[in-house]
């Protein structure tokens, strides 16, 4: 067994607000090995995007990050100077964002922006950088790559732009790639293409990948490991098969019941639902954050919740946690 390339323990992110401190991410743990894909799944406000930005060291100044351990390839990211973080970003760890329409600088050509990613980290001439750009554009399935170099972002469709973003992230062959909702803004048909491209490249280049999404369908198709986040906590994590076939946390189960699955849910019948809304994370949050919406909540849910485990891979935070009978409805 190899050492994880990314190891996170008790990562916490606090946001100071006028009304108090918002505990947006509350002590999460996960590990990721080379070649593995971890999907962080959760609804809006669960802290999944902040987690990915925290790993990259891209949280904005006001946000406070702390962790017992935040190690990337043996480097303690918590203790690095901004300069070192810069040399890692874009080189050994790269990121793809949600909005391909706005994530490229409108003032510069595709070629400029791709080359920049390379030139920042490699001693190379501009010509070499552009050659590398053409190579990667080809790799992400963009035809007539050379002619694209002189184009501006607004001249490309959303799908193409997301491919450019992927190419940009891969310019320096990173060891870790973080994709934050990379297909949310795209059409379904394009979404499938982009996801497939990502999955193929990840396998081909043997990268570790974190994919942040709210779409359980994507998770199921692409993840090796899944971390389900709710209200700033990872409430359940494990292999994709474990999570989907044997969900333990009531929230995970609820989510799975909510989505209509062609062939499984009967058309027109009631879908499962999770009543209520996500609680406020401002101020002190104690016990299970889900208990207000949970149909099996008990008084002891207000106490600290220990982590439960089943095997090496499957863990969840719930005082219940016995396997549910049958498949999720």
């Amino acid at each position: 067994m190899t050492d994880p390339i990314l190891s996170v323990r008790r990562l916490t992110i606090d946001i100071p607000l006028a009304q108090g401190t918002m505990h947006a991410v509350r002590g999460i743990d996960f590990d990721l090995k080379r070649g593995e894909t971890l999907c962080i799944v959760g609804e809006s406000g669960s802290g999944k995007s902040l987690t990915s930005l925290a790993v990259m060291g891209l949280l904005s100044g006001k946000l406070r990050r702390s962790a017992d351990r935040l190690e990337f390839a043996g480097i303690d990211l918590m203790r690095q100077k901004p300069r070192t973080m810069r040399s890692l970003r874009g080189d050994r760890m790269a990121m793809i964002f949600q909005e391909p329409m706005t994530s490229l600088n409108p003032a510069y050509t595709i070629g400029d922006q791709l080359a920049e990613a390379y030139l920042l980290h490699r001693r190379a001439s501009r010509v070499e950088a552009l050659a590398r750009a053409v190579e990667l554009l080809g790799k992400v399935g963009i035809t007539a790559a050379e002619s694209r170099l002189s184009q501006y972002p607004h001249q490309l469709s959303g799908g193409l732009r997301q491919r450019v973003m992927i190419a940009m992230a891969l310019m320096c062959e990173p060891e870790l790639i973080i994709a934050d909702e990379p297909t949310t803004a795209l059409d379904v048909t394009i979404q499938a293409q982009i996801l497939r491209l990502l999955a193929d490249l990840q396998r081909e280049m043997n990268m570790a990948m974190i994919l942040v999404t709210h779409d359980l369908g994507i998770v199921a198709r692409i993840a090796d490991k899944v971390a389900v986040m709710y209200a700033g906590e990872v409430v359940e994590q494990g292999t994709a098969r474990e999570i989907f076939d044997n969900p333990r946390h009531p929230y995970t189960r609820g989510l799975l019941r909510c989505i209509p699955v062609p062939g499984k849910t009967k058309p027109g019948e009631h879908l499962g639902s999770i009543p209520g809304i996500v609680p406020s994370l401002v101020g002190v949050v104690e016990g299970c954050a889900f208990r207000g919406r949970c149909d099996v909540a008990a008084p002891s849910c207000a106490d600290p919740i220990p982590e439960q485990k089943e095997g090496a891979e499957h863990a969840w935070r719930c005082i219940h946690g016995q396997a549910e009978e049958g498949a999720p409805a």
Binding site: P275, G276, I277, G292, R293
Partner: protein, 299 residues
Amino acid sequence: MARTIDTAAQQIRTASPAALLRRRIFGHYGLLFGIVVLATIVLIAAFAPLLTAHDPYTQDLLARMKPPFWMAGSDPDHLLGTDHLGRDYLARLLYGARISLAIGVIAALISGLIGTAMGVAAGYFGGRVDLVVTFLINVRLAMPVVLVALAVVAILDGSLQVVIMVLGLLLWDRFAVVMRSSVLQVRDLEYVNAAKAIGCSVPRVILSEIMPNVVNNLIVVATLEMAHAILLEAALSFLGLGVQPPTPSWGLMISEGKQMLLFEPWLIAIPGVALFVLVLAINLLGDGLRDVSAPENKG
């Protein structure tokens, strides 16, 4: 199956918009300063007769240019001294607040009506209306304001009414620009479509769906234009083509005091500072309103 999603967690989450606004206003010192100073000036203007025993028009040629209280030779009866015709400077200053405020408010009102009508029409109807309005805005922007205002006032002679009308008719451009873009932003929001789909008439859509959502921009522009109008009037008066004496306008007082600039600088310092403070207060009010109505665009 409960159709009601109401549970213990399901409270009305945040404060009402009004309460939020209140909270933001009291957290904004610039805005508070603007409100307090402006309110003070408005009160001064309203109660000017109670604040001084002097009439701003009564001249006393034997008591000309008496210095204000902090200077040697001052007359305790004239706290801020007297002007070149021996009129009480404090009285003129207090009554002058009325003139400046009237000019600011009425000019902003007139230009606001014109500009808002044009901007809203352009933003809402788009197409040819927009083309015409944009063209008019371009024409208006291309005309040098001070020059045109001077020319018109020179033609029509400078009474208070004429100055106000000219400024009102000239300063509508920013209203039109801002209202046009605000309405453009709001126009395609879905609640406007919803209102149309419900069957609302065009006036109703504009007045009850669009206007309430752009009115804060309107107020911000109105304050800025008010300040603009006050400054422009002062400049016109300074150039001798503003309101006419003996009206105690601050701009006119500076223009009159300018004659003795090198020897009696307090003659322009007093109305100058008053003008500066008034404009400052209005600007701070406007800036503050913009900040509290759209805190994310602070700046």
